[in-house]
């Protein structure tokens, strides 16, 4: 009896086990892996991906997908950069507020477009967001003329690049601000999904739209709101990237969607919908971040990293499907 439970425990938490094994492996092969600086680096690199994954979890639970998140982040970052140029003397609180407002605003508008197309015009999510991904990337290049937006105030970079709470070994601060910001957003997204009626409705729609509809749930509204939420987290990711770089890059966020989808699926959110968790997606993000930095430390050629990430997604999906089949049998 106990043995079966142990098996189930590991089965349900594969991603945690993988994470521990990876950390152990990289820790053995690289002396700097567990240094405070590297851990702090991994955490801050995780953040943009974590923001994307927190919103993606919603649409993937619905049985959909949003591959436009990288482009949404790109557009939000550029608009934040232009907005930032208008206030060269901005204070830190003002800079944070500006970034958050732009991130939420741009993200919500993009999410609304996706949501209306998918929920009310019944466009297939994959095709819809593939199209908006392409279109929005075009928009980012049109707005900037293909050139990065430079000349932003130092305070603009506070949210994305600065650290607070200095220690002896890290006099510039041990905790990146972006980590704190991300934790707040992710915590909000996690609680909304796991504790509220709306979250329950997301799971219900993802499990079975017909049942949800006949149980009085407004399926279209739930779908729309989920895409808006996904857009918002993508927008917030975009402004964080802009802040981190202290400029607006038209190419920012490019291909980030693949990492975010990989993280979400690794975190156990089923691509066929109905189950998943924001918190678990964070473990997926950690696995991806550890693999990336680990490969950097081991000086693995960066093109190989894409191959590895691609294979990880395929592996995660195959495992998910195998599990589904087993449940059916």
């Amino acid at each position: 009896m106990e043995k079966i439970n142990m098996k189930k425990l590991i089965g349900d938490n594969v991603v945690v086990v993988v994470l521990i094994l990876l950390c152990f492996g990289f820790g053995m092969s690289s002396s700097t892996f567990f240094s405070a600086r590297n851990v702090s680096n991994i955490l801050s690199q995780m953040c943009t991906n974590a923001l994307l994954a927190s919103g993606l979890t919603y649409v993937i639970i619905l049985g959909g997908i949003d591959i436009s998140v990288g482009s949404v982040a790109g557009v939000a970052g550029i608009i934040a950069a232009y907005a930032g140029l208008m206030f060269p003397d901005m204070s830190i609180p003002f800079a944070i507020a500006l970034l958050i407002v732009v991130g939420i605003g741009v993200g919500a508008v993009c999410g609304l477009v996706n949501g209306v197309l998918i929920a009310y015009l019944d466009v297939i999510p994959m095709i819809c967001t593939l199209s908006t991904m392409t279109a929005l990337r075009g928009v980012a290049f049109i707005i900037t003329g293909g050139q990065p937006v430079y000349g932003l105030a130092d305070n603009f970079a506070f949210l994305g690049a600065k650290r607070i709470i200095p220690t002896a070994s890290m006099p510039n601060g041990a905790v990146p601000v972006i980590v704190i910001f991300t934790i707040i957003v992710v915590a909000f997204m996690h609680i909304l999904l796991s504790r509220t009626v709306f979250g329950r409705h997301v799971f219900a729609v993802g499990s079975n739209r017909n049942v949800a509809h006949l149980s009085g749930i407004n399926v279209r509204k739930v779908t729309l709101l989920s895409h808006v939420l996904c857009g918002i987290t993508a927008g917030l990711c975009g402004v964080c990237i802009a802040s981190k770089l202290q400029n607006g890059q038209p190419n920012a966020g490019n291909t980030y969607e693949m990492f975010a989808i990989a993280s979400t699926v690794l975190g156990g959110t089923s691509l066929s919908g109905g189950s998943g968790s924001v918190a678990r997606a964070m473990f997926g993000c950690a696995v991806i971040a550890v693999i990336k930095t680990g490969m950097d430390l081991l000086q693995i050629y960066s093109y190989w990293q894409n191959v590895v990430i691609g294979c990880i997604i395929i592996l995660a999906v195959v495992l998910d499907m195998a599990q589904k089949k087993r449940q059916k049998a």
Partner: protein, 501 residues
């Protein structure tokens, strides 16, 4: 004359159900042989055995004098046994000719499709059938009757010797039925044996020579249609012993709960008017496809109506979506538990609270977990749901327990009008009996139940009053003392007999 096809002592057992018991029938070439019986009498199981979908548990099938055992439907088709299903299998984007030759396309010596020959051959068949259709027309542009002609052309092109037609007239108008019968006669002249499944008594005398009646998986009799009356056939379809396993109780009718006036959705149901009362189980009888489910979905706000009014407790309401209906204390237990009733991958708590969750939400829309657990426990106890605990995943429960969870979900939502669509389908006898008791309790406490059922014994055993639907209309009402199988069949089928006054 030698029979072309004989089934001998066929029995078919599914886990827990005996669908056919010792059935033997001979089918002769050049003859239309009708297969009649209630839903669940075993007709479809029998044709599935003949056409190679199922293998019989006992007994043999003889075709052209030899014992055969088709490994799959493809083998049966190759041998010359074709089925025209009730749901036509037409690829709408392909032409008539492409449909006729689908899967057996004619190729020239280079292995390239010989479209010209396929079109020519198809046109020859269509001309032979004397139907005004072009081989090159897209099938999607044709109506249901014309699409059926494609199926018949397919059968002719295969040189089938046995053709099974499963309720071929169910979606046709009178005029189209005549055209279909003409084709059936052509097939008959080509010495094809036709197995004809129908619910319409009139068609027996119109087109069939012989009729076999099935009841509860057994053959009642095979008769020459000319020798018997419709009445005799109907009588042999019914008449079984019924125990008191329905726990039939007398209920006292209370106030009016739901009144529907002239509800219409064009082409689906028309002019539906009825009243359901508290303290009453109102049965909805009729054949599958008579429009009963569609009416109930419309009342529940799941599908739109073209015209008509709905009154709840005397007050006119507009129910545009299920949420509105749920707020007015309506509950719908759907026909297909797995597809439209339950979140199979979720647990009992999540299923039970689903419709009522928003009404009991805490601040900021948080789920009220304490309420949710309390109400789930309450109804699991009341309805005697057998499960390890309230976090058990629904897919692991038995059909009867799943159905109880659905019932609990509507009781938790304070439903006092419950619409039950085939509530005991796929549930074993004990669970059924228990479910009927729960229905009785609900009605005794002032609730109102509308129960759709295609099983006549169930309607007779459970309902206080019955409405019968036929082809989208209410064809009659039966009160206490009038509910019996003869009346139900008479009202549900299309017969030449005048309905009794």
């Amino acid at each position: 004359m030698e029979p072309i096809l004989r089934v001998k002592n066929i029995s078919k057992v599914f886990p827990g159900v005996k669908a056919l018991t010792d059935v033997s029938i001979d089918f002769y070439p050049g003859e239309v042989h009708a297969l009649v019986g209630e839903n669940g009498a075993g007709k479809s199981t029998l044709i599935k055995i003949i056409s190679g979908v199922y293998t019989p548990t006992e007994g043999t099938v003889e075709y052209e004098g030899k014992e055969v055992s088709f490994a799959n439907p493809g083998r049966a088709i190759d041998a010359g046994i074709a089925v025209i299903h009730q749901e036509l299998s037409i690829a709408k984007d392909l032409t008539v000719a492409e449909n006729v030759w689908l899967g057996r396309e004619i190729r020239n010596s280079l292995g390239i499709l010989d479209k010209a020959k396929m079109n020519r051959d198809t046109q020859d068949i269509l001309d032979f059938m004397n139907v005004n259709l072009k081989a090159t027309t897209k099938a999607g542009l044709l109506n249901a009757a014309q699409q059926q002609m494609i199926e018949i052309a397919k059968v002719i092109s295969k040189n089938a010797k046995v053709v099974i037609m499963d309720e071929p007239t169910s979606s046709l108008s009178e005029h189209e039925i005549d055209a279909l019968f003409k084709q059936v006669r052509i097939l008959r002249e080509k010495n094809v044996a036709i197995i004809y499944i129908t619910h319409r008594m009139k068609e027996l005398t119109d087109i069939c020579e012989r009729v076999t009646v099935l009841r509860d998986g057994c053959k009642v009799d095979t008769m020459m249609v000319a020798d018997v009356t419709e009445h005799q056939i109907v009588n042999s379809m019914v008449g079984r012993e019924m125990g008191d396993y329905y726990n039939k109780h007398k209920h006292t009718r209370g106030q009016e709960m739901l009144r529907v006036e002239h509800l219409t959705r064009k082409g689906v149901f028309e002019d539906i008017s009825f009243t359901a009362y508290a303290g009453e189980i109102l049965g909805f009888s009729g054949l599958v496809g008579a429009g009963r489910t569609e009416v109930m979905e419309a009342i529940f706000g799941a599908t739109p109506i073209d015209s008509g009014k709905i009154f709840l407790r005397g007050e006119e309401v507009k129910l545009d979506n299920p949420a509105a209906a749920i707020r007015k204390n309506l509950g719908l237990v759907t026909e297909d538990r797995r597809r439209t009733g339950l979140l199979l991958a979720k647990n009992i708590v999540e299923n039970t609270s689903l419709p009522s969750l928003p009404l009991h939400a805490g601040k900021f829309g948080f789920v009220n977990n304490a309420w949710e657990r309390k109400v789930t426990k309450e109804y699991m106890d009341k309805l005697r749901v057998k499960a390890p605990n309230m976090y058990t995943i629904l897919s692991t429960l038995s059909g009867g327990n799943q159905q109880k969870v659905i019932l609990g979900k509507w009781l938790a939502a304070d439903s006092n009008i419950l619409i039950l669509d085939e509530p005991t389908r796929g549930i074993d006898v004990n669970a059924r009996s228990e479910f009927y008791t729960l229905m009785h309790e609900f009605v005794s406490n002032g609730g109102s139940i509308i129960m759709i059922s295609s099983e006549m014994p169930e309607i007779i055993g459970v309902a206080d009053r019955v409405l019968v639907m036929r082809e989208g209309r209410i064809s009659g009402e039966l009160g206490e003392g009038e509910i019996n199988e003869q009346s139900l069949i008479r009202l549900a089928s299309i017969t030449t007999d005048e309905p009794a006054a």
